[in-house]
Amino acid sequence: MRVPVGGLALALALLGMPSVAHAHLVNTRLGGFYDGMLHPLTGFEDALPWLALAILAAFQGAQRARWLLLTFPLGLLAGGGIWELMPGLSFVPALSVALIAIVGLAVATAIVLPLPITLALGAIVGLVHGYLNAQAMTETTDHLLFISGVTAVGYVTITLTIACAIAFLQAKGSWQAIALRASGSWIAAIGIMALGLQFFAPAI
């Protein structure tokens, strides 16, 4: 029997070819800034609490919500900086999930918080998410550009979402606040269950 040596070699070469594993979109060749901008948009970990924070800010009124446009992005920037200094803080992922539940519950109850607490909440969410996003940086990533990208997308997202939520609340009708509160209860429910996963061993 004639063995096709050439074909066999080609097959082995194809099977042996390495394939890239994409954990996060950090090496998309878009540059550190754009990688930082894209990273928070690739999962719900960032999107959910940011959305909840923006809705909560809208419930506080436009005057108070404006302050969050400053504290939240600064928190993201500072969070990235803290990761540079202390990269191994193990409590941050659990705190991140707890914040989804806390901010979601605050939205579900449409609570009006004192301004310092609103600002502190915004800053803490920013710090935690700046820190967690910075964890995705590799050795080849330009850290400053990446953290700047995360901060920029955080600023744009929170600004636009607060503006949309305020406009939605000011529209005619009485159901808008209920719809936003319902979305808060959904986010809180997701956060509570995800928090459970942080503490309990998988029941497999």
Binding site: S19, A23, A188, I190, M193, A194, F200, I204
Partner: protein
């Protein structure tokens, strides 16, 4: 004869090459995507379809919205806001691996109870309505929570099933708005009876009375 033999051999060689090519293609390694969409999308899809593909869950979720609409303000928004929060507590029990007995039976019973309440147009005090819905929400959440740790992306799974649950409530609320018209009110009560029948079917199935 010789030509026929050559043709048969050539066809055999082509088949062997085709099979080898298919096997090689199947064996080729594919990229693994942890966070760039695939795992999140799979988790989101499986979470979203979980309440929709289970008819016992589906009818109970719609029933919560229907009953809320039938009860009017403030139940129309209190029940759908309360339900996901209490459901999350049930989900915690599932995530923790706590063994809650009779889950399937009580999920089916929720369809019967809510269906009957809608069909009879029952109007208990708000706290009683919230208590009834809350107790059932724990069992529905528990059923979802059991599958959460096995999901490709648990957070996306949670987003999927909470959003699906909320949208089913919304369907119930929209259907329930027909109570403004006499015919619509009868139709809503008939929906309640139908939900009760579906619940009864699943209850009997959970007891093993229906194969």
């Amino acid at each position: 004869m010789s030509k026929m033999c050559n043709d048969t051999m050539a066809a055999g060689t082509r088949r062997t090459r085709a099979v080898a090519g298919i096997l090689l293609y199947l064996a080729l390694g594919q990229s693994a995507f942890a966070h760039s969409g695939s795992a999140a999308a799979i988790g989101l899809e499986s979470g979203f379809t979980h309440p929709i593909t289970g008819l016992d869950h589906l009818v109970a979720m719609v029933a919560v919205g229907l009953w809320g609409a039938q009860l009017g303000n403030p139940a129309i928004w209190t029940l759908p806001i309360t339900f996901p929060l209490v459901m999350a507590l049930g989900g915690l029990l599932g995530v923790a691996g706590v063994d809650v007995p009779l889950t399937e039976q009580i999920v089916a019973l929720s369809g019967i109870a809510l269906g009957v309440l809608i069909a009879l147009r029952a109007r208990p005090p708000l706290w009683v309505a919230a208590l009834i819905v809350g107790i059932f929400a724990i069992f529905h959440g528990y059923a979802h929570g059991r599958e959460l740790p096995q999901a490709a992306d648990p957070l996306s799974y949670g987003v999927g099933f909470v959003v699906a649950t909320g949208l089913l409530h919304l369907c119930g609320i929209v259907l329930g708005l027909f109570i403004r018209w006499p015919l619509g009110e009868r139709a809503v009560r008939a929906c309640g009876a139908g939900i009760g029948c579906v619940g009864a079917y699943f209850f009997l199935a959970a007891l093993g009375a229906i194969p």
